[in-house]
Amino acid sequence: MKKEFKVIADLLPNNTRVLDVGCGDGALMDFLVKEKNIEVRGLELNQNNVQECIYKGLPVIQGNAESELYQFPKQSFDYVVLSQTLQAFYQPDKVLRELLRIGKSVIVSIPNFGYWKVRTSLLFFGKMPVTKTLPNTWFNTPNLHMCTIKDLFNYCEDQNITIKKVIGVNENKISLIKKNNLEVKNLFSKLGVFLIG
Protein backbone atom coordinates (compact mmCIF):
# COMPACT_ATOMS: atom_id res chain seq x y z
CA MET A 1 0.00 0.00 0.00
CA LYS A 2 1.29 3.46 -0.80
CA LYS A 3 2.74 5.66 1.92
CA GLU A 4 -0.12 8.12 1.77
CA PHE A 5 -2.66 5.39 2.61
CA LYS A 6 -0.50 4.30 5.55
CA VAL A 7 -0.55 7.86 6.85
CA ILE A 8 -4.33 8.03 6.45
CA ALA A 9 -4.84 4.59 8.02
CA ASP A 10 -2.75 5.62 11.03
CA LEU A 11 -5.05 8.58 11.58
CA LEU A 12 -8.10 6.31 11.75
CA PRO A 13 -8.93 4.60 15.06
CA ASN A 14 -10.08 0.97 15.03
CA ASN A 15 -13.79 0.07 14.98
CA THR A 16 -14.99 3.32 13.44
CA ARG A 17 -17.25 4.12 10.46
CA VAL A 18 -15.44 5.55 7.46
CA LEU A 19 -16.62 6.86 4.09
CA ASP A 20 -13.93 6.79 1.41
CA VAL A 21 -14.85 9.33 -1.25
CA GLY A 22 -13.25 8.42 -4.58
CA CYS A 23 -12.28 5.02 -3.19
CA GLY A 24 -10.76 3.75 -6.46
CA ASP A 25 -10.35 -0.02 -6.53
CA GLY A 26 -10.85 -0.20 -2.77
CA ALA A 27 -7.21 -0.70 -1.72
CA LEU A 28 -7.50 1.58 1.31
CA MET A 29 -10.93 0.25 2.30
CA ASP A 30 -9.71 -3.34 2.07
CA PHE A 31 -6.83 -2.53 4.40
CA LEU A 32 -9.07 -0.71 6.88
CA VAL A 33 -11.54 -3.60 7.03
CA LYS A 34 -8.92 -6.28 7.48
CA GLU A 35 -6.44 -4.52 9.75
CA LYS A 36 -8.54 -2.10 11.76
CA ASN A 37 -12.03 -3.62 11.80
CA ILE A 38 -13.36 -0.40 10.36
CA GLU A 39 -16.84 -0.30 8.81
CA VAL A 40 -16.25 1.21 5.38
CA ARG A 41 -18.32 2.64 2.56
CA GLY A 42 -16.92 3.86 -0.74
CA LEU A 43 -18.09 6.33 -3.36
CA GLU A 44 -16.56 5.89 -6.79
CA LEU A 45 -17.34 7.12 -10.29
CA ASN A 46 -15.47 4.65 -12.48
CA GLN A 47 -17.42 1.47 -13.30
CA ASN A 48 -14.36 -0.81 -13.43
CA ASN A 49 -13.26 0.42 -10.02
CA VAL A 50 -16.78 -0.12 -8.67
CA GLN A 51 -16.69 -3.69 -9.94
CA GLU A 52 -13.26 -4.23 -8.35
CA CYS A 53 -14.67 -3.13 -5.00
CA ILE A 54 -17.68 -5.40 -5.39
CA TYR A 55 -15.42 -8.38 -6.22
CA LYS A 56 -13.57 -7.67 -2.99
CA GLY A 57 -16.85 -7.62 -1.08
CA LEU A 58 -16.46 -3.93 -0.25
CA PRO A 59 -19.59 -1.77 -0.14
CA VAL A 60 -19.34 0.87 -2.83
CA ILE A 61 -21.77 3.32 -4.35
CA GLN A 62 -21.27 4.36 -7.93
CA GLY A 63 -21.61 8.09 -8.17
CA ASN A 64 -20.04 11.49 -8.51
CA ALA A 65 -18.76 13.14 -5.34
CA GLU A 66 -19.33 16.56 -6.84
CA SER A 67 -23.08 16.06 -7.10
CA GLU A 68 -24.04 13.03 -5.05
CA LEU A 69 -22.77 13.48 -1.52
CA TYR A 70 -26.24 14.74 -0.56
CA GLN A 71 -27.40 11.13 -0.22
CA PHE A 72 -25.39 10.62 2.96
CA PRO A 73 -27.04 11.87 6.16
CA LYS A 74 -25.27 14.47 8.29
CA GLN A 75 -22.71 13.18 10.77
CA SER A 76 -23.35 9.62 9.60
CA PHE A 77 -19.65 8.68 9.53
CA ASP A 78 -16.89 9.07 12.09
CA TYR A 79 -14.46 9.92 9.30
CA VAL A 80 -14.74 10.86 5.66
CA VAL A 81 -11.62 10.38 3.55
CA LEU A 82 -10.87 12.23 0.32
CA SER A 83 -7.55 11.29 -1.23
CA GLN A 84 -5.97 13.63 -3.80
CA THR A 85 -9.24 14.56 -5.48
CA LEU A 86 -10.20 17.90 -3.95
CA GLN A 87 -8.37 19.82 -6.66
CA ALA A 88 -10.31 18.03 -9.42
CA PHE A 89 -13.75 19.29 -8.43
CA TYR A 90 -15.52 22.23 -10.04
CA GLN A 91 -16.40 23.54 -6.60
CA PRO A 92 -13.91 22.15 -4.06
CA ASP A 93 -15.19 24.47 -1.33
CA LYS A 94 -18.72 23.09 -1.72
CA VAL A 95 -17.46 19.50 -1.65
CA LEU A 96 -15.41 20.23 1.45
CA ARG A 97 -18.49 21.60 3.23
CA GLU A 98 -20.39 18.45 2.25
CA LEU A 99 -17.62 16.23 3.64
CA LEU A 100 -17.71 18.16 6.91
CA ARG A 101 -21.49 17.73 7.05
CA ILE A 102 -21.28 13.95 6.58
CA GLY A 103 -18.25 13.19 8.76
CA LYS A 104 -17.50 14.03 12.35
CA SER A 105 -13.93 14.39 11.09
CA VAL A 106 -12.56 14.65 7.58
CA ILE A 107 -9.22 13.55 6.15
CA VAL A 108 -8.24 15.37 2.97
CA SER A 109 -5.00 14.83 1.12
CA ILE A 110 -3.74 17.12 -1.62
CA PRO A 111 -0.81 17.08 -4.04
CA ASN A 112 1.14 20.12 -2.85
CA PHE A 113 1.54 22.77 -5.55
CA GLY A 114 3.96 24.53 -3.21
CA TYR A 115 6.51 21.70 -3.45
CA TRP A 116 9.88 23.10 -4.55
CA LYS A 117 10.10 21.07 -7.75
CA VAL A 118 6.74 22.40 -8.81
CA ARG A 119 7.85 25.93 -8.05
CA THR A 120 11.15 25.63 -9.92
CA SER A 121 9.48 24.09 -12.96
CA LEU A 122 7.39 27.18 -13.34
CA LEU A 123 10.09 29.63 -12.21
CA PHE A 124 13.05 28.36 -14.22
CA PHE A 125 11.48 26.54 -17.13
CA GLY A 126 8.28 28.55 -17.46
CA LYS A 127 6.36 25.30 -17.86
CA MET A 128 3.45 23.75 -16.00
CA PRO A 129 5.00 21.16 -13.70
CA VAL A 130 4.85 17.45 -14.45
CA THR A 131 5.93 15.39 -11.44
CA LYS A 132 5.19 11.99 -9.89
CA THR A 133 2.29 13.39 -7.91
CA LEU A 134 1.18 15.61 -10.81
CA PRO A 135 1.73 13.31 -13.79
CA ASN A 136 -0.53 15.01 -16.34
CA THR A 137 0.21 17.82 -18.78
CA TRP A 138 -1.71 21.09 -18.79
CA PHE A 139 -4.18 20.05 -21.48
CA ASN A 140 -5.25 16.72 -20.05
CA THR A 141 -4.98 17.23 -16.32
CA PRO A 142 -8.14 16.55 -14.30
CA ASN A 143 -6.90 19.11 -11.78
CA LEU A 144 -8.87 22.33 -11.96
CA HIS A 145 -8.10 23.95 -8.62
CA MET A 146 -4.51 23.23 -7.62
CA CYS A 147 -3.53 24.51 -4.20
CA THR A 148 -0.65 24.38 -1.78
CA ILE A 149 -0.54 23.07 1.74
CA LYS A 150 -0.40 26.69 2.88
CA ASP A 151 -3.50 27.55 0.82
CA LEU A 152 -5.59 24.81 2.38
CA PHE A 153 -4.20 25.60 5.83
CA ASN A 154 -5.19 29.26 5.48
CA TYR A 155 -8.54 28.34 3.99
CA CYS A 156 -9.43 26.17 6.99
CA GLU A 157 -8.46 28.97 9.35
CA ASP A 158 -10.51 31.52 7.39
CA GLN A 159 -13.53 29.24 7.40
CA ASN A 160 -13.18 28.38 11.10
CA ILE A 161 -12.62 24.71 10.26
CA THR A 162 -10.73 23.08 13.09
CA ILE A 163 -7.35 21.77 11.96
CA LYS A 164 -6.65 18.73 14.11
CA LYS A 165 -3.49 17.53 12.41
CA VAL A 166 -1.55 18.17 9.22
CA ILE A 167 1.06 15.74 7.95
CA GLY A 168 3.51 16.40 5.15
CA VAL A 169 4.58 13.43 3.05
CA ASN A 170 7.74 13.28 0.95
CA GLU A 171 8.42 9.79 -0.44
CA ASN A 172 8.75 7.69 2.71
CA LYS A 173 9.31 10.57 5.10
CA ILE A 174 6.49 12.11 7.02
CA SER A 175 6.47 15.16 9.24
CA LEU A 176 4.03 17.08 11.35
CA ILE A 177 3.07 20.47 9.99
CA LYS A 178 2.27 23.31 12.40
CA LYS A 179 1.79 26.96 11.92
CA ASN A 180 5.41 27.66 12.86
CA ASN A 181 6.95 25.35 10.24
CA LEU A 182 4.33 25.84 7.56
CA GLU A 183 6.58 27.83 5.17
CA VAL A 184 9.32 25.19 5.18
CA LYS A 185 7.03 22.17 5.04
CA ASN A 186 5.05 23.78 2.25
CA LEU A 187 8.29 23.84 0.26
CA PHE A 188 9.46 20.29 0.99
CA SER A 189 6.27 18.16 1.12
CA LYS A 190 4.93 16.45 -1.97
CA LEU A 191 1.63 15.74 -0.31
CA GLY A 192 -0.34 17.24 2.53
CA VAL A 193 -2.70 15.15 4.64
CA PHE A 194 -5.19 17.21 6.65
CA LEU A 195 -7.29 15.95 9.55
CA ILE A 196 -10.00 18.54 10.02
CA GLY A 197 -13.55 18.94 11.27
Binding site: V50, Q62, S76
Partner: protein, 375 residues
Protein backbone atom coordinates in the same frame (compact mmCIF):
# COMPACT_ATOMS: atom_id res chain seq x y z
CA UNK B 1 -54.26 -23.82 -17.67
CA UNK B 2 -54.54 -26.03 -14.59
CA UNK B 3 -53.90 -29.25 -16.43
CA UNK B 4 -50.49 -28.11 -17.62
CA UNK B 5 -49.36 -27.33 -14.10
CA UNK B 6 -50.23 -30.67 -12.51
CA UNK B 7 -46.73 -32.10 -12.37
CA UNK B 8 -44.82 -29.15 -10.98
CA UNK B 9 -43.53 -28.71 -7.43
CA UNK B 10 -46.08 -27.28 -5.07
CA UNK B 11 -46.65 -26.86 -1.39
CA UNK B 12 -49.95 -26.19 0.28
CA UNK B 13 -49.60 -23.23 2.60
CA UNK B 14 -51.67 -24.16 5.63
CA UNK B 15 -50.75 -21.17 7.79
CA UNK B 16 -53.58 -18.60 7.53
CA UNK B 17 -52.54 -15.45 5.71
CA UNK B 18 -54.45 -12.22 6.27
CA UNK B 19 -54.33 -10.30 3.02
CA UNK B 20 -54.05 -6.51 2.88
CA UNK B 21 -57.61 -6.35 1.54
CA UNK B 22 -58.81 -7.86 4.82
CA UNK B 23 -59.60 -11.36 3.63
CA UNK B 24 -57.83 -14.33 5.24
CA UNK B 25 -56.72 -17.26 3.13
CA UNK B 26 -55.27 -20.67 4.00
CA UNK B 27 -54.56 -24.03 2.40
CA UNK B 28 -53.57 -22.40 -0.85
CA UNK B 29 -51.10 -23.83 -3.39
CA UNK B 30 -47.68 -22.26 -3.93
CA UNK B 31 -45.74 -23.58 -6.91
CA UNK B 32 -41.95 -23.37 -6.95
CA UNK B 33 -38.81 -24.69 -8.57
CA UNK B 34 -35.27 -25.18 -7.32
CA UNK B 35 -31.93 -25.51 -9.10
CA UNK B 36 -28.67 -26.90 -7.76
CA UNK B 37 -28.26 -28.51 -4.36
CA UNK B 38 -28.63 -27.15 -0.87
CA UNK B 39 -25.31 -27.90 0.83
CA UNK B 40 -24.84 -29.46 4.26
CA UNK B 41 -24.41 -26.13 6.03
CA UNK B 42 -27.45 -24.72 4.25
CA UNK B 43 -25.55 -21.53 3.51
CA UNK B 44 -25.78 -21.48 -0.30
CA UNK B 45 -29.47 -20.72 -0.85
CA UNK B 46 -30.46 -17.90 -3.19
CA UNK B 47 -34.07 -16.81 -3.51
CA UNK B 48 -35.14 -15.28 -6.81
CA UNK B 49 -38.32 -13.23 -7.14
CA UNK B 50 -39.80 -13.17 -10.63
CA UNK B 51 -41.17 -10.20 -12.55
CA UNK B 52 -44.69 -9.52 -13.86
CA UNK B 53 -44.83 -12.11 -16.60
CA UNK B 54 -42.24 -14.49 -15.19
CA UNK B 55 -42.73 -17.72 -13.30
CA UNK B 56 -40.78 -20.11 -11.09
CA UNK B 57 -38.84 -21.56 -14.04
CA UNK B 58 -35.76 -19.40 -13.80
CA UNK B 59 -33.20 -21.58 -15.58
CA UNK B 60 -32.99 -24.62 -17.81
CA UNK B 61 -36.10 -25.47 -19.83
CA UNK B 62 -39.55 -24.46 -18.67
CA UNK B 63 -41.41 -27.83 -18.55
CA UNK B 64 -44.75 -26.23 -19.38
CA UNK B 65 -43.84 -23.90 -22.25
CA UNK B 66 -40.82 -25.98 -23.36
CA UNK B 67 -38.93 -22.71 -23.73
CA UNK B 68 -35.83 -21.50 -21.92
CA UNK B 69 -36.23 -20.32 -18.34
CA UNK B 70 -36.68 -16.54 -18.13
CA UNK B 71 -33.29 -15.89 -16.50
CA UNK B 72 -31.02 -18.40 -18.29
CA UNK B 73 -28.66 -15.51 -19.07
CA UNK B 74 -27.78 -15.25 -15.37
CA UNK B 75 -28.72 -18.53 -13.68
CA UNK B 76 -27.45 -22.03 -14.45
CA UNK B 77 -24.32 -24.19 -14.32
CA UNK B 78 -21.28 -21.91 -14.72
CA UNK B 79 -23.44 -18.79 -15.02
CA UNK B 80 -23.22 -15.60 -12.92
CA UNK B 81 -25.45 -17.29 -10.35
CA UNK B 82 -23.82 -20.67 -10.64
CA UNK B 83 -26.19 -23.55 -9.87
CA UNK B 84 -23.20 -25.90 -9.49
CA UNK B 85 -22.37 -23.85 -6.41
CA UNK B 86 -25.63 -22.30 -5.24
CA UNK B 87 -29.12 -23.58 -4.49
CA UNK B 88 -31.54 -21.34 -6.37
CA UNK B 89 -35.20 -21.14 -5.40
CA UNK B 90 -38.05 -19.35 -7.12
CA UNK B 91 -41.77 -19.42 -6.34
CA UNK B 92 -44.61 -18.50 -8.65
CA UNK B 93 -46.34 -15.42 -7.22
CA UNK B 94 -49.86 -15.77 -5.91
CA UNK B 95 -52.13 -14.16 -8.47
CA UNK B 96 -49.97 -15.79 -11.14
CA UNK B 97 -50.88 -18.66 -13.46
CA UNK B 98 -48.13 -21.26 -13.14
CA UNK B 99 -49.56 -23.37 -10.33
CA UNK B 100 -49.74 -20.93 -7.42
CA UNK B 101 -53.04 -19.67 -6.09
CA UNK B 102 -54.39 -17.31 -8.74
CA UNK B 103 -57.51 -16.24 -10.62
CA UNK B 104 -57.28 -19.22 -12.99
CA UNK B 105 -57.21 -21.73 -10.11
CA UNK B 106 -60.37 -23.60 -9.20
CA UNK B 107 -62.63 -21.95 -6.63
CA UNK B 108 -63.97 -24.91 -4.67
CA UNK B 109 -67.09 -22.96 -3.73
CA UNK B 110 -68.21 -22.49 -7.31
CA UNK B 111 -66.29 -25.30 -9.02
CA UNK B 112 -65.11 -22.72 -11.56
CA UNK B 113 -61.90 -20.77 -11.73
CA UNK B 114 -61.97 -17.70 -9.48
CA UNK B 115 -61.90 -15.07 -12.20
CA UNK B 116 -62.81 -11.74 -10.60
CA UNK B 117 -63.86 -13.50 -7.37
CA UNK B 118 -60.14 -13.66 -6.66
CA UNK B 119 -59.26 -11.00 -4.07
CA UNK B 120 -57.12 -8.01 -5.03
CA UNK B 121 -53.67 -8.79 -3.68
CA UNK B 122 -50.57 -6.69 -2.93
CA UNK B 123 -46.82 -7.15 -3.24
CA UNK B 124 -46.77 -7.63 0.51
CA UNK B 125 -49.32 -10.47 0.23
CA UNK B 126 -47.24 -12.01 -2.55
CA UNK B 127 -44.10 -11.92 -0.43
CA UNK B 128 -45.72 -13.13 2.78
CA UNK B 129 -47.25 -16.06 0.89
CA UNK B 130 -43.73 -17.22 0.03
CA UNK B 131 -42.40 -17.32 3.58
CA UNK B 132 -43.60 -20.86 4.25
CA UNK B 133 -41.57 -22.12 1.31
CA UNK B 134 -38.29 -21.34 3.10
CA UNK B 135 -39.49 -23.28 6.16
CA UNK B 136 -40.53 -26.13 3.89
CA UNK B 137 -37.05 -26.23 2.33
CA UNK B 138 -35.40 -26.00 5.76
CA UNK B 139 -33.65 -22.70 5.13
CA UNK B 140 -33.15 -20.47 8.12
CA UNK B 141 -31.19 -17.72 6.43
CA UNK B 142 -30.62 -17.10 2.75
CA UNK B 143 -27.21 -16.31 1.30
CA UNK B 144 -28.85 -13.91 -1.10
CA UNK B 145 -32.19 -12.81 -2.46
CA UNK B 146 -32.58 -11.05 -5.77
CA UNK B 147 -35.06 -9.95 -8.36
CA UNK B 148 -35.51 -7.43 -11.15
CA UNK B 149 -38.45 -5.14 -11.86
CA UNK B 150 -41.46 -6.45 -9.89
CA UNK B 151 -39.06 -9.08 -8.53
CA UNK B 152 -36.99 -6.24 -7.06
CA UNK B 153 -40.08 -4.72 -5.50
CA UNK B 154 -40.89 -8.07 -3.86
CA UNK B 155 -37.33 -8.23 -2.63
CA UNK B 156 -37.49 -4.79 -0.99
CA UNK B 157 -40.77 -5.79 0.62
CA UNK B 158 -39.21 -9.07 1.75
CA UNK B 159 -36.29 -7.25 3.40
CA UNK B 160 -38.63 -4.80 5.13
CA UNK B 161 -41.12 -7.46 6.29
CA UNK B 162 -38.61 -10.14 7.26
CA UNK B 163 -35.50 -8.21 8.33
CA UNK B 164 -32.22 -10.11 8.21
CA UNK B 165 -33.77 -13.23 6.68
CA UNK B 166 -31.18 -12.89 3.93
CA UNK B 167 -27.45 -12.18 4.28
CA UNK B 168 -27.41 -10.15 1.08
CA UNK B 169 -29.89 -8.67 -1.37
CA UNK B 170 -29.69 -7.48 -4.97
CA UNK B 171 -32.65 -5.32 -6.02
CA UNK B 172 -32.37 -4.75 -9.78
CA UNK B 173 -34.09 -2.08 -11.89
CA UNK B 174 -36.94 -1.48 -9.47
CA UNK B 175 -38.44 1.11 -7.20
CA UNK B 176 -39.85 1.65 -3.72
CA UNK B 177 -43.18 2.82 -5.09
CA UNK B 178 -44.81 2.63 -8.48
CA UNK B 179 -44.53 5.90 -10.40
CA UNK B 180 -47.45 7.62 -12.15
CA UNK B 181 -45.96 6.62 -15.50
CA UNK B 182 -45.78 2.97 -14.48
CA UNK B 183 -49.34 3.00 -13.15
CA UNK B 184 -50.44 4.58 -16.43
CA UNK B 185 -48.74 1.88 -18.50
CA UNK B 186 -50.29 -0.84 -16.35
CA UNK B 187 -53.69 0.79 -16.74
CA UNK B 188 -53.21 0.73 -20.50
CA UNK B 189 -52.54 -3.01 -20.32
CA UNK B 190 -55.59 -3.64 -18.14
CA UNK B 191 -57.89 -1.53 -20.31
CA UNK B 192 -56.73 -3.41 -23.40
CA UNK B 193 -57.74 -6.70 -21.77
CA UNK B 194 -61.02 -5.42 -20.38
CA UNK B 195 -61.98 -3.81 -23.70
CA UNK B 196 -61.80 -7.20 -25.41
CA UNK B 197 -65.41 -8.53 -25.53
CA UNK B 198 -64.10 -12.06 -24.95
CA UNK B 199 -62.90 -10.96 -21.51
CA UNK B 200 -66.56 -10.91 -20.38
CA UNK B 201 -65.90 -9.43 -16.92
CA UNK B 202 -63.25 -12.05 -16.30
CA UNK B 203 -65.56 -15.00 -17.01
CA UNK B 204 -63.94 -16.09 -20.29
CA UNK B 205 -62.93 -19.40 -18.72
CA UNK B 206 -66.57 -20.52 -18.85
CA UNK B 207 -66.20 -20.66 -22.62
CA UNK B 208 -62.74 -22.17 -22.27
CA UNK B 209 -61.10 -19.26 -24.06
CA UNK B 210 -58.91 -16.15 -23.47
CA UNK B 211 -59.28 -12.48 -24.49
CA UNK B 212 -56.36 -12.99 -26.84
CA UNK B 213 -56.57 -9.68 -28.67
CA UNK B 214 -56.66 -7.60 -25.52
CA UNK B 215 -53.98 -9.62 -23.76
CA UNK B 216 -51.77 -9.41 -26.81
CA UNK B 217 -52.05 -5.60 -26.91
CA UNK B 218 -51.27 -5.52 -23.19
CA UNK B 219 -48.10 -7.47 -23.87
CA UNK B 220 -47.12 -5.12 -26.70
CA UNK B 221 -47.38 -2.14 -24.35
CA UNK B 222 -45.14 -3.95 -21.92
CA UNK B 223 -42.58 -4.79 -24.56
CA UNK B 224 -42.25 -1.20 -25.71
CA UNK B 225 -41.58 -0.13 -22.14
CA UNK B 226 -38.90 -2.78 -21.66
CA UNK B 227 -36.76 -1.46 -24.52
CA UNK B 228 -35.01 1.88 -24.90
CA UNK B 229 -35.58 4.35 -27.71
CA UNK B 230 -32.00 3.90 -28.90
CA UNK B 231 -32.08 0.11 -28.57
CA UNK B 232 -35.29 -0.10 -30.56
CA UNK B 233 -33.95 2.23 -33.26
CA UNK B 234 -30.79 0.17 -33.60
CA UNK B 235 -32.61 -3.15 -33.68
CA UNK B 236 -35.46 -2.25 -36.01
CA UNK B 237 -35.03 1.25 -37.38
CA UNK B 238 -37.48 1.63 -40.27
CA UNK B 239 -36.67 -1.79 -41.66
CA UNK B 240 -39.52 -3.50 -43.49
CA UNK B 241 -40.67 -7.02 -42.71
CA UNK B 242 -39.72 -9.31 -45.59
CA UNK B 243 -40.88 -6.90 -48.24
CA UNK B 244 -39.34 -4.38 -50.59
CA UNK B 245 -41.88 -1.60 -50.21
CA UNK B 246 -44.95 -0.48 -48.29
CA UNK B 247 -48.01 -2.61 -48.83
CA UNK B 248 -50.41 0.30 -48.45
CA UNK B 249 -52.35 -1.72 -45.90
CA UNK B 250 -52.47 -2.16 -42.13
CA UNK B 251 -50.52 -5.38 -42.13
CA UNK B 252 -47.21 -5.48 -40.32
CA UNK B 253 -45.09 -3.60 -42.84
CA UNK B 254 -42.38 -2.66 -40.37
CA UNK B 255 -40.19 -5.14 -38.53
CA UNK B 256 -40.99 -3.49 -35.24
CA UNK B 257 -44.71 -4.12 -35.83
CA UNK B 258 -44.09 -7.72 -36.70
CA UNK B 259 -41.93 -8.13 -33.58
CA UNK B 260 -44.63 -6.69 -31.32
CA UNK B 261 -47.36 -8.82 -32.89
CA UNK B 262 -45.24 -11.92 -32.41
CA UNK B 263 -44.54 -11.04 -28.77
CA UNK B 264 -48.25 -10.47 -28.23
CA UNK B 265 -49.50 -13.65 -29.86
CA UNK B 266 -46.92 -15.95 -28.25
CA UNK B 267 -47.68 -14.46 -24.83
CA UNK B 268 -51.36 -15.38 -24.90
CA UNK B 269 -50.39 -19.04 -25.17
CA UNK B 270 -48.69 -18.99 -21.80
CA UNK B 271 -50.29 -16.31 -19.65
CA UNK B 272 -53.70 -15.74 -18.13
CA UNK B 273 -55.38 -12.39 -18.80
CA UNK B 274 -56.91 -12.09 -15.32
CA UNK B 275 -53.48 -12.75 -13.81
CA UNK B 276 -52.18 -9.67 -15.63
CA UNK B 277 -54.99 -7.60 -14.10
CA UNK B 278 -54.23 -8.81 -10.58
CA UNK B 279 -50.47 -8.66 -10.71
CA UNK B 280 -50.30 -5.21 -12.33
CA UNK B 281 -52.70 -4.00 -9.64
CA UNK B 282 -50.40 -5.37 -6.94
CA UNK B 283 -47.53 -3.44 -8.55
CA UNK B 284 -49.53 -0.22 -8.67
CA UNK B 285 -50.47 -0.49 -5.01
CA UNK B 286 -46.83 -0.96 -4.04
CA UNK B 287 -45.56 1.93 -1.94
CA UNK B 288 -43.04 1.01 0.69
CA UNK B 289 -42.86 4.61 1.92
CA UNK B 290 -46.55 4.49 2.83
CA UNK B 291 -46.28 1.25 4.77
CA UNK B 292 -43.91 2.61 7.35
CA UNK B 293 -44.65 5.69 9.38
CA UNK B 294 -41.09 6.89 9.38
CA UNK B 295 -40.87 6.42 5.61
CA UNK B 296 -38.20 4.38 3.92
CA UNK B 297 -35.59 4.91 6.59
CA UNK B 298 -37.94 3.15 8.99
CA UNK B 299 -38.59 0.38 6.46
CA UNK B 300 -34.92 -0.52 6.33
CA UNK B 301 -34.12 0.18 9.95
CA UNK B 302 -31.83 -2.30 11.72
CA UNK B 303 -30.93 -4.06 8.49
CA UNK B 304 -27.83 -6.21 8.63
CA UNK B 305 -28.44 -7.35 5.07
CA UNK B 306 -25.80 -6.29 2.56
CA UNK B 307 -27.46 -4.65 -0.42
CA UNK B 308 -26.36 -4.16 -4.01
CA UNK B 309 -28.74 -1.97 -6.00
CA UNK B 310 -28.31 -2.14 -9.78
CA UNK B 311 -29.87 0.17 -12.37
CA UNK B 312 -29.51 0.50 -16.14
CA UNK B 313 -28.76 3.84 -17.78
CA UNK B 314 -31.35 3.46 -20.57
CA UNK B 315 -34.16 2.07 -18.39
CA UNK B 316 -37.04 4.56 -18.55
CA UNK B 317 -39.51 2.30 -16.73
CA UNK B 318 -37.55 2.06 -13.48
CA UNK B 319 -35.07 4.87 -13.87
CA UNK B 320 -31.65 5.31 -12.33
CA UNK B 321 -33.13 8.06 -10.19
CA UNK B 322 -35.77 5.73 -8.73
CA UNK B 323 -33.11 3.15 -7.98
CA UNK B 324 -30.92 5.78 -6.36
CA UNK B 325 -33.81 6.65 -4.07
CA UNK B 326 -33.53 3.11 -2.71
CA UNK B 327 -29.81 3.67 -2.12
CA UNK B 328 -30.47 6.98 -0.36
CA UNK B 329 -33.05 5.36 1.91
CA UNK B 330 -30.67 2.53 2.74
CA UNK B 331 -27.87 5.00 3.40
CA UNK B 332 -30.12 7.06 5.64
CA UNK B 333 -30.84 4.00 7.75
CA UNK B 334 -27.15 3.13 7.90
CA UNK B 335 -27.50 -0.09 5.93
CA UNK B 336 -24.60 -1.72 4.11
CA UNK B 337 -25.34 -0.75 0.52
CA UNK B 338 -23.54 -0.84 -2.80
CA UNK B 339 -24.84 0.65 -6.00
CA UNK B 340 -23.91 0.31 -9.64
CA UNK B 341 -25.41 1.89 -12.73
CA UNK B 342 -24.74 -0.27 -15.77
CA UNK B 343 -24.31 1.80 -18.93
CA UNK B 344 -26.28 0.08 -21.69
CA UNK B 345 -28.83 0.82 -24.42
CA UNK B 346 -30.84 -2.32 -23.72
CA UNK B 347 -33.39 -0.57 -21.50
CA UNK B 348 -35.32 -2.20 -18.69
CA UNK B 349 -34.79 -5.61 -20.27
CA UNK B 350 -31.04 -5.37 -19.60
CA UNK B 351 -31.21 -7.71 -16.63
CA UNK B 352 -32.74 -10.47 -18.77
CA UNK B 353 -30.29 -10.39 -21.67
CA UNK B 354 -26.58 -11.06 -21.98
CA UNK B 355 -25.38 -7.75 -20.60
CA UNK B 356 -21.75 -8.53 -19.77
CA UNK B 357 -21.05 -5.74 -17.29
CA UNK B 358 -24.24 -6.53 -15.40
CA UNK B 359 -23.51 -10.25 -15.22
CA UNK B 360 -19.93 -9.58 -14.08
CA UNK B 361 -21.18 -7.33 -11.30
CA UNK B 362 -23.82 -9.85 -10.26
CA UNK B 363 -21.30 -12.70 -10.13
CA UNK B 364 -18.70 -10.64 -8.28
CA UNK B 365 -21.16 -9.66 -5.60
CA UNK B 366 -22.75 -13.09 -5.09
CA UNK B 367 -19.37 -14.84 -4.92
CA UNK B 368 -17.90 -12.30 -2.49
CA UNK B 369 -21.00 -12.56 -0.30
CA UNK B 370 -20.67 -16.34 -0.22
CA UNK B 371 -17.06 -16.01 0.96
CA UNK B 372 -18.28 -13.88 3.86
CA UNK B 373 -21.36 -15.93 4.69
CA UNK B 374 -20.19 -19.54 4.37
CA UNK B 375 -19.82 -21.36 7.61
Amino acid sequence: MNKKTENINKITVTKPLKLDCGKTIKDFPLAYETYGKLNKNKDNAILVFHALTGDQFVAGTNPVTKKEGWWVSAVGPGKAIDTDKYFVICANVIGGCMGSWGPSELNKETNHPYGLDFPVITIKDIVRAQESLLDHLGIEKLLCATGGSMGGMQLLQFCATFPNKTFSAIPIACSVSHSAQNIALNELARQAIMADPVWDKGKYFLKNTQPKNGLSVARMVGHISYLSEQGMQEKFGRKLQEKADYEFSFNADFQVESYLRHQGSSFVERFDANSILYITRAMDYFDLTKQFKGGLTEAFKSQKTKFLVISFSSDWLYTTKENKDIVIALNASGADVSYSEIVTDKGHDSFLVNETEFLKTLKGFVDSMYEKFKR
